[in-house]
């Protein structure tokens, strides 16, 4: 149950909730001027109440909370979590942390994800971060406070527009007390098969020979047939090449050509190495400044001071030594350069000889037609071999895929069987859910609707339906009955947050009498079961409901009212 929603800013309209039915009213003051009309819907901050509640229950920063005006406001929600009544405080500019007051279990500052984990434990009995089948706490809690912005009011079984069947069905299975893990397995297998089939199609597309629309099952056979054909072609080529080689003269020439080619490459490599060494040595000659006598003078002067006994008067001797060093170095570099040049020159005639012989052989081989043909056959053969390798690889892939698909399909069948079996064994739960839904819808329409929960090949389907399916607002009333059913079943199993929040968007398409009826049902159920029902309504809509039904809800209306007048909204000030 929720107790109090407040902020550390005085202009914020504090909301104090009571047990049972709570109606938060937003009054509209439609003026004749256009500016009043424009703000008539969103000025009071009804959806912001939902956004802040979600935010304080671990959700993301959404709606008005994104505005820079309120990013530093601390919002506080007092609520019951398990046996404790505590207060959680969070602000948009520091959303990774929440502050907790009044808890004997939690520290006073924890991360938001730890807060979510705690709520998952306290409200849904989880020991880990996620529930069975990978459901998340945030997905579950969304069924207790739907948001129009997310598309939560478009389909009873989805709380946001793009929610996948897998996500919605595991979440609902958890809420209804069915086996979540089985639902997850079923959807997992389905997704896996889809992926594998896509891969198979991609593989088939590679196969240009395959006629468009060829059956998947034929891919393997197709590949096998192709392989056989390519193999045959390769063997024929081999036979022809072998019969060519009966001419020994050609074979000798070919062998020689191969040797000559290698020889020529070796000679070129050596030339390159020598050219590089010439280059390096020339650069050394240029860059090394070789005779800097002033330095030598300084060296001598210093040495005389440091080693007076050693040096004596032998400057001329040292200088001669120095010049000898330099000359030696120069001549060494020169020798290196000239010997490299000589080696290159020596290679030149060799290269020419090799080149000439090579030309002759090639000419001989080409001139005698058969050799040309032989080379061509060789080329063709290596093409075939490559093709064959590729096809074999593809065949192997295709076989592996087929095996995976068979395996996964078997898994899927198992999952479907298990789900059906589980659904049968838990028929008591399903029956209770259907009965609950029927009772609620009956009191709404005087004729029961139905909720079928069926285990199909496609998953666990939840199919709520109400009588008079044509009437406007039927979807709204389905959602209303569905959510109440979830809240009741959860309450009975001792799980759930203990509240249900609906805003006026849900009731907008519903006629006044049904609207009033649904509020009466909500009031009655919440009085009987301690489920707190909070409705965020526009005052004129409530007036309409009261007028058309003769009922009176004024006892349930909260003291704090919101309005679209300046200073009357949830945040005190208006901002966009």
């Amino acid at each position: 149950m929720l107790h109090r929603l407040s902020s550390d800013r005085a202009q914020f309209k504090t909301l104090a909730f009571k047990p049972g039915l709570n109606i938060i009213l937003a009054s509209r003051h439609e003026g004749s001027d256009s500016s009043a009309k424009r703000r008539s819907r969103n000025g009071a901050g009804k959806s912001s109440v939902l956004d802040i509640v979600h935010f304080l229950l671990g959700g993301q920063t959404e709606g008005a909370l994104k505005s820079s005006v309120v990013k530093d406001w601390n919002f506080t929600l007092e609520l019951d979590v398990g046996p404790e009544r505590l207060a959680v405080t969070r602000r948009a500019s520091d959303a990774t942390q929440v502050a907790i007051a009044g808890s004997s279990i939690l520290q006073s500052r924890i991360t938001n994800s730890l807060w979510c984990k705690h709520l998952g434990e306290a409200w849904f009995g989880w020991t880990g971060k996620k529930g069975a089948g990978g459901t998340s706490y945030r997905q579950l809690i969304s069924f207790f406070a739907r948001r129009k912005r997310d598309g939560g009011l478009e389909d009873p079984i989805r709380t946001f527009r793009s929610q996948t069947s897998a996500s919605s069905e595991t979440t609902l299975a958890e809420l209804f007390g069915l086996d979540t893990e089985l639902v997850r397995q079923l959807h997992y297998s389905k997704a896996a098969i889809k992926k594998l089939k896509t891969a198979q199609r991609a593989l088939a597309d590679l196969d240009k020979a395959a006629a468009p629309g060829t059956k998947q099952a034929d891919l393997e056979a197709q590949l096998e047939a192709q392989i056989a054909a390519v193999k045959l072609g390769r063997d024929r080529l081999n036979t022809r090449i072998e019969s060519f080689n009966v001419l020994p003269a050609f074979r000798e020439l070919e062998t020689e050509l191969v040797i000559l080619n290698q020889r020529f490459r070796d000679l070129s490599d050596d030339d390159i190495l020598d050219a590089e060494s010439i280059d390096v040595n020339i650069r050394s000659l240029e860059s090394e400044s070789l005779s800097e006598l002033p330095d030598l003078t300084r060296l001598f002067a210093e040495a005389e001071i440091i080693f007076p006994d050693l040096v004596g008067g032998r400057y001329a001797e040292v200088r001669r030594f120095h010049e000898q060093l330099v000359a030696n170095r120069k001549s060494h570099l020169q020798t290196e350069i000239s010997s490299a040049r000589r080696r290159i020159d020596e290679r030149e005639p060799l290269r020419e000889a090799v080149e000439e012989r090579r030309r002759d052989i090639t000419k001989a081989l080409r001139a005698s037609g058969p050799a040309d043909q032989l080379l061509q056959l060789r080329d063709e053969l290596s093409d075939r071999e490559g093709e064959l390798r590729q096809l074999k690889g593809r065949l192997e892939d295709a076989r592996k895929l087929e095996v995976s698909i068979e395996q996964t399909e078997a898994d899927l069948d198992d999952a479907i069987r298990a789900l059906r079996q589980d659904r049968r064994e838990r028929s008591a739960i399903v029956e209770l859910a259907s009965t609950t839904f029927s009772q609620i819808s009956e009191s709404l329409y005087e004729q029961p609707g139905s909720l079928a929960i069926s285990a199909t090949d496609d998953g666990l389907r939840f199919l709520p339906s109400t009588p008079f399916d044509q009437s406007a607002g039927v979807m709204s009333m389905e959602i209303f009955c569905f959510d109440l059913t979830i809240a009741l079943l959860a309450q009975r199993r001792g799980i759930g947050p203990g509240f249900l929040l609906h805003d006026s968007h849900l009731f907008e398409p519903v006629d006044g009498r049904q609207f009033a009826k649904s509020l009466q049902i909500a009031a009655q159920i919440s009085a009987e079961t301690e489920i707190q029902y909070i409705a965020l309504l526009n005052s004129d809509e409530l007036d309409r409901a009261q007028r058309e039904s003769g009922a009176d809800f004024s006892d349930f209306v909260l003291e704090t009212e919101l309005s679209d007048l300046p200073g009357g909204g949830l945040f005190g000030a208006r901002f966009d």
Binding site: L296, L299, E302, A303, L310, H322, L325, N328, S331, L333
Partner: protein, 80 residues
Amino acid sequence: MILPTKNITPDRALLTLAGRIFDGLGVPRTISGIWDEFRLQQQSSPIAYSWFILAIDLLYLMQLVQLGDDGLLRRKRAVR
């Protein structure tokens, strides 16, 4: 320049370099051979060729090395 000074770090002082060159003179070698090896060792803090030659000059000055007729630098037989 022989000893380290404010501007010459100990590992660039001629005496240090001379000692290093002398260490490598177990066998007689050409100046180019010594230079190539020395350059590899000093890759992290390159030394100019002229500075390297001065270090050898210093060795000679201290009567530790001599240049043979074959153009190879070698240690001088100890006479002390």
